[in-house]
């Protein structure tokens, strides 16, 4: 089955604040579709000591400003069983 991926205002604010260039936004969109929409369990990790939350992360293939970007999302399954909720998001540049 295919999940809708949704977020609240806080995650929207954070993603906007990263001010990512278009290629990184494209990769982010691609990864969310590829990794989470159809088979999220494969790519979600349980957070030790905080089993209420799942984590999805990836380091970008695309370099920007001499760095790869690490994206980390805290995720929960919605009670409707059709939606993945992105609860929090982080993005850090990791110099290559």
């Amino acid at each position: 089955m295919s999940y809708d991926i949704k977020h609240g205002p806080l995650v929207a604010e954070r993603i906007k604040s990263w001010d990512l260039p278009e290629p990184l936004l494209a990769e982010l969109e691609f990864r969310l579709v590829e990794d989470l929409r159809d088979n999220p369990a494969r790519n979600l990790h349980i957070i030790t000591n905080d089993p209420d939350y799942l984590e999805y992360s990836f380091a970008s293939d695309i370099m920007h400003g001499g760095a790869r970007y690490l994206f980390a999302f805290r995720v929960a399954y919605s009670t409707d069983e059709q939606t993945l909720l992105l609860l929090d998001a982080d993005c850090i540049a990791v110099p290559d």
Partner: protein
């Protein structure tokens, strides 16, 4: 070479044991300016400097591991790294205090080097606190509250919109 979670956990135990040992040792030994204690403090300073070389590898190795997408437990990994740094800074403080009370001025050659290394650890810790994807429970609680109110929208739509804005701002390169 990047560092592994198990290496970090072993290092945490080792450092905590070192700190405990030093605290015990400090309580047992009376200051002796010219004797055994001076030699021991010198050895401790040297060990701190050697440990800094290893920790430098851990610190930068951890970020390399992040960049290679090989960290899947940010909390545990980051906390282990932070514990190593904070424990080692406590060890530095103990050693510097011993050097100040138990050694004649200039009796320990590389004390300035230890002070510089201590400052380097402080910077690492500041960087780690600011640049690690830590779990933020306040943000999570707020997000849950918003979700319960039905305040959520499609992430792919948001990204689509942001891409459109970025293309427009960048002159439509894609």
């Amino acid at each position: 070479m990047s560092v592994t979670s198990i290496e970090l956990r072993l290092r945490v135990r080792e450092r905590e044991a070192d700190q405990q040992e030093l605290e015990n040792w400090q309580g047992e030994k009376a200051p002796d300016e010219h004797g055994e204690r001076l030699a021991e403090v010198r050895a401790l300073v040297k060990k701190c400097l050697d440990d800094a070389d290893v920790d430098r590898r851990y610190f930068y190795g951890a970020y390399r591991r992040l960049g290679a997408n090989r960290v899947h437990d940010f909390q545990a990994f980051g906390e282990a790294l932070r514990t190593i740094l904070t424990t080692q800074m406590k060890i530095h403080a103990l050693v510097m205090a011993m050097a100040a009370t138990g050694a004649p001025a200039g009796g320990i050659d590389n004390l300035d080097e230890l002070k510089a290394v201590h400052e380097e650890y402080k910077k690492w810790k500041e960087f780690l606190d600011a640049n690690w994807p830590w779990l933020n429970h306040d943000r999570l609680a707020n997000a849950y509250a918003a979700m319960k109110d039905g305040n959520c929208t499609s992430t792919l739509d948001l990204l689509h919109e942001l891409r459109h804005q970025a293309r427009t701002a960048g002159g439509g390169t894609n």
